[in-house]
Amino acid sequence: MFSVLKAIIWKDIVMEYKTKQMTSAMLIFSGLVIVIFSFAFELTFGVLEHVLPGMIWVALVFSSILGLNRSFLLEKSNDCMQGLLLLPSDRTFIFLGKFTGNFLFVLLTQMIIVPGFFIFFDYPFQGSIPLLIFVLLIGMVGFIAVGTFLAALASNSRMSDMLLPIILFPISVPLIIAGVESTSLIFQGASFAEISQWVYLILVFDIVFLVVPYMLFDYVMEV
């Protein structure tokens, strides 16, 4: 069973390694976001502390959309989707495989983007770094889980690249609220106890949107 999962993830990694489409697009987009933000806001030192958490999340969420959109559209060419559906296993493994693949690519870009924000805006971060990494990590798990699922759903439509943001953003609102709020608390030097409420909300969201797509994915993939 897990060989199937491994094969799907490996296939995505190899393809990404050869083409570098997704990660490069996400990185360039995030870089541009940094540039645009620096023009859009008057970023003096006092302001930066309040705006930066939101900016990081906006960059992450918007750049992830680029990757998510491609993840299932790629399978449409050459009827690759048929091949995936013929796998001799549970179809939910396609979901898990795609989720893991997307998560890895987003993680990779995130590792470059987030330090980039601190460098380009010259912000001396004083909060807890492990806590920041933890929150961004669990936040992205939830966002990629629901995003992968809705990307699979949207890929059935001909206007999928238009449909995905419209259906994904309202659903991920709780996650983004919790993410931004806890990140800005971390920026103010909060401890885990102070952000625990938000962390639990993110974890609830993660669990719900890993379990529910797992149950419903068969219906989305049906031909």
Binding site: V146, F149, L150, L153, N156, S157, R158, M159, L163, I166, I167, F169, P170, I171, V173, P174, I177, A178, E181, Q197, W198, L201, V204, F205, V208, V212, P213, L216, Y219, V220, E222
Partner: protein, 236 residues
Amino acid sequence: MNTNYTLGSFHKYLGWITFLAVTVSMFFIFIIAPPDVRLGIVQKIFYFHVGTAWIAFFAFFIVFIVSILFLMTRNRNYDVIAMASAEIGVLFTTIVLITGPIWGKSSWNAWWTWEPRLTTTLILWFMYIAYIMIRVSDMEWEKKARLSSVFGIIGFINVPIVFMSIRWWNTELHPVVFGEGADQTGGGISDTMLLTLIITVITFMILYFYLLKKGIAIGHARYKLDDIKDKIKNVM
């Protein structure tokens, strides 16, 4: 498939009942119910606001239920009900989002605040707009019905999470601003006002079923038209 889904005589009676109920509730709202001590005549919007809000949530709940039923049975009728109910839900949520700021302007002196209930309602509206976007996208009906059912389920599951997160988000900024409806155990609402509210909610309920029946009939007519088109295509 049974294609005999005309409106029928029951719908006609329902129409008359709706007309009667609307008349009665208008009478109650504008003649019987006393104007609010503090807000005056503007408070009358309360009845429409609460009534439509209740029906909007009810409509989305129906979408959720029939979505599950559709995935289990694959019966086209459930799909038609889901579409009709979602459309009504979006319509009523829109009315809530319009009447809310009008009332808010006179009662809090602000068109909009990012208060939990308002924010949740707005997100709910966006969510079901997205649902309708899936509905009108270009796919075969089986696929469309299946995918929108899945989204209908996911969307409704998300509502409590949204509500919870927004509640935590703004706890300090906006305590309960005003008592709303019967769940607030009185909250300064007089008996006549409560009676009027109940009558209005029942009226909106009847109106919902009237619109639902119309929506279902239109949905079936649409499918029937598609079938006929397919038949003509096959002949040619």
